[in-house]
Symmetry: C2
Subunit: 340 residues, 2 copies
């Protein structure tokens, strides 16, 4: 069912029907209502491709993220989709699987006008952003893992503060040697959290040891954590920048008979719904993932609809929440127990 058929049914011209459907002032009120009625009766729907071709806009946005099976990105998608649904937009999803080559390919694909705007979170491999600079005309919004130097809106959490407080929390509960685990030194979130970590060490007059900072981007993450916890002077606190690394830490601790929190305290960024039920319950920094999605989408739609142009340098920072649980509980006994 298209305009032509509908027009024939109504003995009207195509233009009249088209205008009636979009409630143009050029069309008489009587005509409008008959057109509307007939359109509903015949279940007419605008052909999106014809419309997009003519209007040069797609009513579609792209979400480019590393992974969908993730306690952070899942709710972000929910947030984005909920705003898109309200606004009548469609959401295309593309996954980089943390692979920069895929990210580049996806961005290239998106240059042909298929979408009106892009929201993205960088892959952990993404070191340079040449592929993104080429998008000059395309509305673009970053969230969480942002490219700091680019002049586009960014929605993040207060990673520096969170990194600071997480470290501070470990120190206050008795940690002296705190390891920082993250996935890639190139990521904005790693850098900011790391700076917060170092600042907290500095404020507390704890010397910063380079070999307590580990970036695990290979497949043998577990081996590296195992090696870390087997060191003679192993850390008494682990600050994991992503949930996955905290879970691995738990597994390794069990394997090595290290007790959490007595031997090692663990804190991490996590949106896991089961953090409170872990053994021991895990102290987490929760990011407002759903709200990040909504906020990022809202800003993108403003850009797309050209309501305002001075969004370009805007940076929106939402607050994370530290929830203290047993994995970082202060322990009285200085029961130093090394792996045997």
């Amino acid at each position: 069912m298209n305009l032509k058929q509908l027009a024939k049914e109504l003995n009207l011209s195509i233009s009249t029907v088209s205008k009636a459907l979009r409630d143009s002032h050029e069309i008489g009120i009587a005509t409008k209502s008959t057109v509307l009625a007939k359109a509903k009766e015949l279940n007419y729907q605008v052909n999106p491709f014809a419309s997009s071709l003519r209007k040069q806009k797609s009513k579609t946005i792209a979400v480019v993220i590393p992974d969908a099976a993730n306690d952070f990105f899942g709710p972000v998608i929910n947030g984005i989709e909920s705003v898109a649904q309200e606004k009548g937009y469609h959401v295309l999803i593309y996954l980089t699987h943390e692979d920069m080559k895929k990210e580049v390919a996806i961005i290239k694909l998106l240059q042909n006008g298929r979408v009106d705007g892009i929201m993205m979170s960088l892959s952990e491999q993404t070191s340079d952003t040449a592929h993104l600079e080429e998008l000059s005309e395309m509305p673009l919004v970053f969230f969480d893992r942002v490219a700091d130097h680019m002049d586009v809106p960014k929605i993040t959490t207060d990673d520096y503060n969170s990194g600071f407080h997480a470290t501070q929390h470990l120190i206050q509960n008795g940690c002296k040697r705190i390891a920082f685990l993250s996935i890639s030194p190139d990521l904005s979130i790693s850098r900011m959290r790391m700076r917060g970590y170092r600042e907290a060490l500095k404020v507390n007059k704890i010397e910063h040891e380079e070999n307590l900072v580990l970036y695990l981007n290979s497949e043998d993450e577990k081996t590296i954590i195992r090696r870390l916890l087997k060191r003679k002077n192993r850390p008494d606190g682990i600050f994991a920048s992503v949930e996955k690394l905290a879970i691995l830490t738990y597994e390794v601790c069990e394997e090595l008979n290290l007790r959490i929190p007595q031997d090692v305290k663990v804190i991490c960024f996590s949106n896991s719904k089961t953090a409170a039920l872990l053994n021991p319950s895990l102290t987490t920094i929760i990011q407002p993932a759903y709200e990040i999605g909504r906020e990022a989408a809202t800003i993108l739609f403003k850009l797309v609809e050209k309501k305002r142009h001075h969004f370009l340098q805007e940076r929106t920072v939402l607050n994370s929440t530290l929830i203290a649980r047993n994995s970082t509980k202060a322990t009285r006994a200085r029961n130093k127990k090394y792996s045997k």
Copy 2:
């Protein structure tokens, strides 16, 4: 950059350029290579809307699911997207948020040709499927939460068997009164798992008690679970059909000072990565979510591309895996302890 401009640059006709780009035999080999070179140089990309309009296909599929922030649907999205990326398809995502009205609206939206096919998992509210029957011409594939009576391909796990084995597992570990918790009696997964549950009771000559079967689709799920576990003759085993309900059960048990597994054993369908680290570690039935996504996408693309119609009744069943952990461990002492 479009065909017209490209043709002018090359002093060729639009048709020639178009054909050259898609490697038509009508075009001379020399011409082809100059066209290709120029296209690359000027970064020409086919306009997707013009192409879709003309060819009447979109190279896009829709994924309609209840929720993205979910340990099952997350990996499913990964699976679908990976196949789509291989095949050069685009993936639109729509969330029903378990709301049938939204599901109906989304399906209606998708009738205008925006996508070449739909993959979906029903919302828990979805009782009738009139909105889906109207899609007669549109390739459609169900996964996990399927509409049994519809003649379209369905990809599921062996829910009946899993329900049977889960129940059997509880019985073998000493449970006498097993509650079955699920979200909606309308869902295929609920029905199949429930049948497996009843069959296991029957085989083990345990009487089936209607009031041990609870469908929690309201917001006060926790209250209902609390009430269940406060009953005089409360169940000694809980079989939760979805992860969320097991987590709530854990929370309620902690609240009521009920010990898992001594007082209540818990098993559930879950793809949580932290199941092994819970306190106690949670016995789960893991569904091969990523593979379900890949399989469903693969079948949908066959439908979309080959126009093969004998896929229509195909049902693909993948195996789930039961991983026994401490939450269902047999306990010797008949230490009956009621909440006070």
